[in-house]
Protein backbone atom coordinates (compact mmCIF):
# COMPACT_ATOMS: atom_id res chain seq x y z
CA UNK A 1 0.00 0.00 0.00
CA UNK A 2 1.34 3.38 -0.87
CA UNK A 3 0.41 6.94 -0.11
CA UNK A 4 1.15 9.96 -2.22
CA UNK A 5 3.26 12.78 -0.87
CA UNK A 6 0.52 15.40 -1.27
CA UNK A 7 -1.79 13.37 0.95
CA UNK A 8 0.89 13.09 3.66
CA UNK A 9 1.51 16.81 3.47
CA UNK A 10 -2.19 17.69 3.71
CA UNK A 11 -2.70 15.46 6.78
CA UNK A 12 0.27 17.07 8.53
CA UNK A 13 -0.96 20.57 7.68
CA UNK A 14 -4.44 19.77 8.91
CA UNK A 15 -3.03 19.03 12.36
CA UNK A 16 -0.26 21.64 12.30
CA UNK A 17 -1.56 24.49 10.16
CA UNK A 18 1.59 26.62 10.38
CA UNK A 19 3.86 23.75 9.37
CA UNK A 20 6.32 23.95 6.55
CA UNK A 21 6.52 20.47 5.07
CA UNK A 22 9.12 19.09 2.66
CA UNK A 23 8.68 15.57 1.42
CA UNK A 24 11.10 13.53 -0.67
CA UNK A 25 10.01 10.32 -2.31
CA UNK A 26 13.27 8.47 -1.73
CA UNK A 27 12.87 5.67 -4.21
CA UNK A 28 10.12 7.03 -6.42
CA UNK A 29 7.90 4.13 -5.35
CA UNK A 30 5.41 6.08 -3.23
CA UNK A 31 6.39 4.01 -0.23
CA UNK A 32 9.66 5.36 1.16
CA UNK A 33 9.59 9.00 2.11
CA UNK A 34 11.67 11.43 4.06
CA UNK A 35 9.89 14.42 5.53
CA UNK A 36 11.11 17.60 7.13
CA UNK A 37 8.50 19.37 9.18
CA UNK A 38 9.02 22.83 10.62
CA UNK A 39 6.42 24.22 13.00
CA UNK A 40 6.11 26.65 15.88
CA UNK A 41 4.05 24.00 17.66
CA UNK A 42 7.23 22.00 18.29
CA UNK A 43 8.71 24.66 20.56
CA UNK A 44 9.60 23.32 24.00
CA UNK A 45 8.82 19.73 23.02
CA UNK A 46 11.24 16.81 23.02
CA UNK A 47 12.09 15.12 19.73
CA UNK A 48 9.97 12.17 20.73
CA UNK A 49 6.99 14.44 21.38
CA UNK A 50 7.53 16.29 18.09
CA UNK A 51 7.54 13.05 16.14
CA UNK A 52 4.49 11.82 18.06
CA UNK A 53 2.65 14.97 16.96
CA UNK A 54 3.40 14.19 13.32
CA UNK A 55 2.43 10.53 13.77
CA UNK A 56 -0.83 11.65 15.37
CA UNK A 57 -1.46 13.87 12.37
CA UNK A 58 -1.11 10.81 10.15
CA UNK A 59 -3.92 9.15 12.12
CA UNK A 60 -2.49 5.68 12.47
CA UNK A 61 -1.21 5.35 8.91
CA UNK A 62 2.41 5.38 10.01
CA UNK A 63 3.70 1.85 10.37
CA UNK A 64 0.77 0.56 8.37
CA UNK A 65 -0.22 2.05 5.06
CA UNK A 66 2.85 4.21 5.27
CA UNK A 67 5.83 1.94 5.69
CA UNK A 68 8.76 4.28 5.74
CA UNK A 69 8.74 7.94 6.57
CA UNK A 70 12.03 9.31 7.74
CA UNK A 71 11.26 12.29 9.91
CA UNK A 72 13.13 15.41 10.88
CA UNK A 73 11.33 18.03 12.91
CA UNK A 74 12.34 21.51 13.98
CA UNK A 75 11.04 24.91 14.96
CA UNK A 76 11.24 27.86 12.53
CA UNK A 77 14.15 29.67 14.18
CA UNK A 78 16.22 26.52 14.72
Amino acid sequence: MAMDAAHIESLIKEALPDAEVHIDDLRGDGDHYAARVISKEFAGKSRVQQHQMVYDALQGRMGGELHALGLQTSTPEA
Partner: protein, 112 residues
Protein backbone atom coordinates in the same frame (compact mmCIF):
# COMPACT_ATOMS: atom_id res chain seq x y z
CA UNK B 1 -1.40 2.57 33.16
CA UNK B 2 -3.16 -0.22 31.33
CA UNK B 3 -4.27 -3.76 31.92
CA UNK B 4 -2.62 -5.00 28.76
CA UNK B 5 -0.66 -8.05 30.08
CA UNK B 6 2.18 -7.59 27.62
CA UNK B 7 2.97 -4.19 29.19
CA UNK B 8 4.23 -5.93 32.35
CA UNK B 9 6.56 -8.06 30.25
CA UNK B 10 7.90 -5.00 28.43
CA UNK B 11 8.27 -3.10 31.69
CA UNK B 12 10.34 -5.88 33.24
CA UNK B 13 12.64 -6.02 30.19
CA UNK B 14 13.36 -2.30 30.37
CA UNK B 15 13.73 -2.43 34.17
CA UNK B 16 16.20 -5.31 34.07
CA UNK B 17 18.34 -4.19 31.15
CA UNK B 18 19.96 -0.75 31.04
CA UNK B 19 19.85 -0.54 27.24
CA UNK B 20 17.12 -2.33 25.32
CA UNK B 21 16.47 -2.22 21.61
CA UNK B 22 13.15 -3.51 20.32
CA UNK B 23 14.03 -4.43 16.77
CA UNK B 24 13.30 -6.61 13.76
CA UNK B 25 15.77 -9.47 13.69
CA UNK B 26 18.58 -9.83 16.21
CA UNK B 27 21.70 -7.70 16.66
CA UNK B 28 23.78 -10.14 14.58
CA UNK B 29 21.23 -10.29 11.78
CA UNK B 30 18.90 -7.29 11.71
CA UNK B 31 15.97 -7.89 9.36
CA UNK B 32 15.30 -4.27 8.54
CA UNK B 33 17.46 -1.33 7.54
CA UNK B 34 16.13 0.92 10.29
CA UNK B 35 16.90 -1.63 12.98
CA UNK B 36 20.32 -2.22 11.43
CA UNK B 37 21.11 1.51 11.58
CA UNK B 38 20.48 1.67 15.34
CA UNK B 39 22.43 -1.55 15.96
CA UNK B 40 25.23 0.04 13.93
CA UNK B 41 25.34 3.14 16.12
CA UNK B 42 25.29 1.14 19.36
CA UNK B 43 27.93 -1.26 18.08
CA UNK B 44 30.11 1.63 16.98
CA UNK B 45 29.94 2.94 20.53
CA UNK B 46 30.53 -0.54 21.96
CA UNK B 47 27.48 -0.22 24.16
CA UNK B 48 26.16 -3.42 25.67
CA UNK B 49 22.47 -3.75 24.87
CA UNK B 50 19.74 -6.32 24.77
CA UNK B 51 18.07 -6.74 21.41
CA UNK B 52 14.50 -8.00 21.48
CA UNK B 53 13.33 -9.40 18.18
CA UNK B 54 9.70 -8.39 17.75
CA UNK B 55 9.37 -10.69 14.75
CA UNK B 56 9.59 -13.60 17.22
CA UNK B 57 6.81 -12.29 19.41
CA UNK B 58 3.67 -10.82 17.90
CA UNK B 59 2.37 -9.64 21.27
CA UNK B 60 5.45 -7.59 21.96
CA UNK B 61 5.47 -6.34 18.39
CA UNK B 62 2.02 -4.79 18.78
CA UNK B 63 2.34 -4.15 22.52
CA UNK B 64 5.49 -2.04 22.31
CA UNK B 65 3.78 0.35 19.87
CA UNK B 66 1.00 1.04 22.35
CA UNK B 67 3.38 1.03 25.31
CA UNK B 68 5.55 3.78 23.83
CA UNK B 69 2.83 5.47 21.80
CA UNK B 70 5.18 5.03 18.88
CA UNK B 71 4.05 3.39 15.63
CA UNK B 72 7.27 1.90 14.34
CA UNK B 73 10.16 -0.43 15.17
CA UNK B 74 13.02 -0.04 16.19
CA UNK B 75 12.58 1.56 19.60
CA UNK B 76 15.45 2.29 21.95
CA UNK B 77 15.09 2.37 25.73
CA UNK B 78 17.86 3.56 28.03
CA UNK B 79 17.36 2.99 31.76
CA UNK B 80 13.67 2.50 31.30
CA UNK B 81 13.21 5.66 29.27
CA UNK B 82 12.07 5.72 25.65
CA UNK B 83 14.71 7.57 23.65
CA UNK B 84 13.34 7.27 20.15
CA UNK B 85 13.23 5.38 16.89
CA UNK B 86 15.76 5.21 14.11
CA UNK B 87 15.67 8.86 12.98
CA UNK B 88 15.97 10.27 16.48
CA UNK B 89 18.74 7.89 17.54
CA UNK B 90 20.68 8.68 14.38
CA UNK B 91 20.26 12.43 14.87
CA UNK B 92 21.28 12.17 18.53
CA UNK B 93 24.27 10.00 17.74
CA UNK B 94 25.52 12.47 15.13
CA UNK B 95 24.97 15.43 17.47
CA UNK B 96 26.77 13.73 20.37
CA UNK B 97 23.55 13.71 22.42
CA UNK B 98 23.36 9.95 22.68
CA UNK B 99 26.84 9.97 24.20
CA UNK B 100 25.63 12.52 26.72
CA UNK B 101 22.70 10.32 27.75
CA UNK B 102 25.06 7.40 28.31
CA UNK B 103 27.32 9.67 30.38
CA UNK B 104 24.41 10.94 32.44
CA UNK B 105 23.04 7.47 33.06
CA UNK B 106 26.43 5.94 33.80
CA UNK B 107 26.48 3.50 30.89
CA UNK B 108 29.84 2.45 29.46
CA UNK B 109 30.58 3.24 25.87
CA UNK B 110 33.59 3.99 23.76
CA UNK B 111 33.79 7.48 22.33
CA UNK B 112 34.78 7.71 18.69
Amino acid sequence: MSDNPVFAKIQSEIDENPVVLFMKGNPMFPQCGFSAAVVGALTQMQVKFKGIDVLQDGEIREGIKAFSNWPTIPQLYIKGEFVGGCDIVKEMYEAGELQKIFDDKGIDYKSA
